[in-house]
């Protein structure tokens, strides 16, 4: 049984700026098996982040019969015991130390102090930032800050990690290095990762499966297994072959997205009204 099962999910919202109803997702169905490393790839504005947010329980999908099951249960809201979520930005609280930032997710779950600390340190060690435990976020580089954010997600020790373009704001070297770390951690701890990106190279470099989205309204156009052996190397013949194969599908959609005129808005998510 797949651990994540999305069936016929749509999302429309009212765009206040243009006063129009925008449909970002159109009856999307996709599933992830346990230990999957699933990439959601698509042109900007195609709704891939929206889909991730729906799976995470951060935004509701349209109430039109679509269904999201995670570990067999419908998603009704954030479930940090089951799913960790990682943003494009590190989102570290500047008034907390690195260690306290990593512990922040565990605090919500009433994990006791000693255990919190021990778990946070374990993952900081895993990404080589143990000695920065008592530093403040402003003392970190962009790549280090994103590593800390990764630790915060890992420390929850959830079955599933959802990542929304987590390395998009980094320079290319940090991106590749962090990608390597993520893959090695994934192979060690065996979690299910769903990873949103608009980078073709990143998708092929990291993913075990790649789902290509159409331009808005987003649908899944292609869902392929990427069984290139690891460790992978960018630029080898087989790597390029895979990139080509995905690009053939992605190209038309990127052109469509570019041609649709308006610069596709980033799929912002909103907090539910309180």
């Amino acid at each position: 049984m797949p651990i994540i099962e999305v069936t016929g999910v749509s999302k429309t919202y009212h765009d206040a700026a243009s006063d129009r109803v925008v449909r970002t997702l159109d009856k999307v169905s996709i599933a992830a098996e346990e230990n999957d490393f699933l990439i959601l790839l698509g042109p900007s504005g195609c709704g891939k982040s929206t889909l991730l947010n729906i799976v995470a329980g951060l935004v509701p999908s349209d109430p039109d019969g679509g269904r999201v099951l995670v570990a067999g249960k419908p998603v009704t809201g954030p479930n940090p015991k089951l799913m960790a979520y990682m943003f494009q930005d590190p989102v570290l609280y500047p008034w907390r130390t690195v260690l306290k930032n990593v512990e922040f997710g565990l605090e919500a779950q009433d994990v006791d102090r000693a255990e919190r600390r021990q778990r946070a340190l374990k993952y900081l060690r895993l990404v080589g930032l143990e000695e920065f435990a008592d530093a403040y976020p402003r003392q970190l580089s962009g790549g280090m800050a994103q590593r800390v954010a990764l630790c915060r997600a890992l420390a929850l020790e959830t079955e599933i990690i959802l990542m929304d373009e987590p390395f998009a704001a980094l320079d290319e070297q940090s991106r590749i290095l962090l990608g390597d770390e993520l893959v090695s951690i994934w192979r060690q701890v065996r979690r299910t990762i769903v990873f949103v990106t608009h980078s073709l190279t990143e998708a092929v470099y990291l993913g075990q499966r790649i789902a290509v989205f159409t331009a808005r309204p987003g649908r899944i156009k292609l869902d392929i297994a990427n069984d290139l052996p690891r460790p992978r190397a960018i630029g080898t013949a087989e790597f390029n072959q895979m990139v080509d194969r995905v690009w053939q599908q992605l190209k038309a959609e990127s052109q469509a997205a570019a041609a649709s005129g308006t610069k596709a808005a980033r799929d912002e998510i909103l907090l539910p009204e309180e």
Binding site: A56, L58, P80, F87, V91, W95, E107
Partner: protein, 252 residues
């Protein structure tokens, strides 16, 4: 001569000015009633503090002023922060009440002083109320602004980690807004002092403001300067304490 540090330069400037002032008042024909020499002022300060001056009931009056400031500031801080939270917490409340607050903020408060005196008389309560009135707005607006400027991602993260809105408020919104709120509290403190002292200067029945007025109308020029300096010193020390607390909080 070695390197000139900023502190040394500043000290030298102040000493030079005081010396110039002293020499000027000794040599010139300007009456001592108009300008007192620094030496006389310093003498007066000492005399006031050891109660050998002719300034009446210095300690009782100083205590009253400090008490008024503390009460006014305590109330302004609590009411200001709570009002700021209310204004920021809901769009309806914000839209409904912020225009009123902005008008009150923009009005020169002094023109409302006679109304306050008419309403509640000439006791300490009037000065306290005026102090609150002068000090509270910057606290309200800074609190509201600080809370509104919290990065949406900070809230999204906490939400995704399963925090409820009450916990998000105390664990994320308040600390994220702390710097702006504390800046408002610090400015508000200065304004509250101004409000209380203005009240005393206008009412002229008790407090340091009253003593300053007393020295002025009786041409006790040295006493006047000495009292002003003492009042300033109290303000500076209090401001330092508030600033110190602010820095500790921001870091913690």
């Amino acid at each position: 001569m070695g390197k000139l540090s900023p502190t040394l330069a500043r000290t030298l400037l102040v000493v030079a000015l005081l010396a110039l002032w002293e020499v000027f008042t000794r040599l010139s024909s300007v009456s001592a009633i108009l300008i007192a020499p620094p030496s006389a002022i310093i003498m007066q300060m000492v005399q006031i503090l050891v109660r050998t001056s002719n300034v009446p009931d210095f300690y009782a009056n100083a205590r009253l002023t400090i008490a008024e400031i503390l009460v006014a500031y305590g109330l302004a801080a609590v009411a200001g922060v709570l009002t700021g939270i209310a204004v920021a917490s809901s769009k309806v409340i914000g839209d409904a009440f912020e225009p009123i607050l902005l008008v009150l903020y923009a009005v020169p408060k002094i023109i409302l002083y006679p109304v306050i005196v008419l309403m509640i008389g000439t006791g300490p309560a009037t000065k306290i109320l005026f102090g609150i009135f002068v000090g509270i707005f910057v606290i309200i607006f800074n609190t509201a602004a600080g809370l509104r400027q919290v990065e949406p991602n900070y809230l999204r993260l906490a939400h995704s980690l399963g925090y409820g809105s009450a916990k998000i408020f105390f664990k994320v919104e308040l600390p994220a807004a702390a710097q702006t709120i504390l800046a408002g509290l610090r400015l508000g403190f200065g304004y509250t002092i101004i409000g209380v002292l203005t009240g005393e200067l206008l009412l002229v029945n008790a407090g340091l403001g009253y003593l300053i007025d007393w020295a002025s109308v009786n041409y006790y020029t040295a006493q006047l300067y000495a009292l002003i300096i003492i009042t300033l010193a109290i303000g500076v020390v209090a401001n330092y304490i508030v600033g110190h607390i602010e820095r500790r909080w921001v870091r913690g």
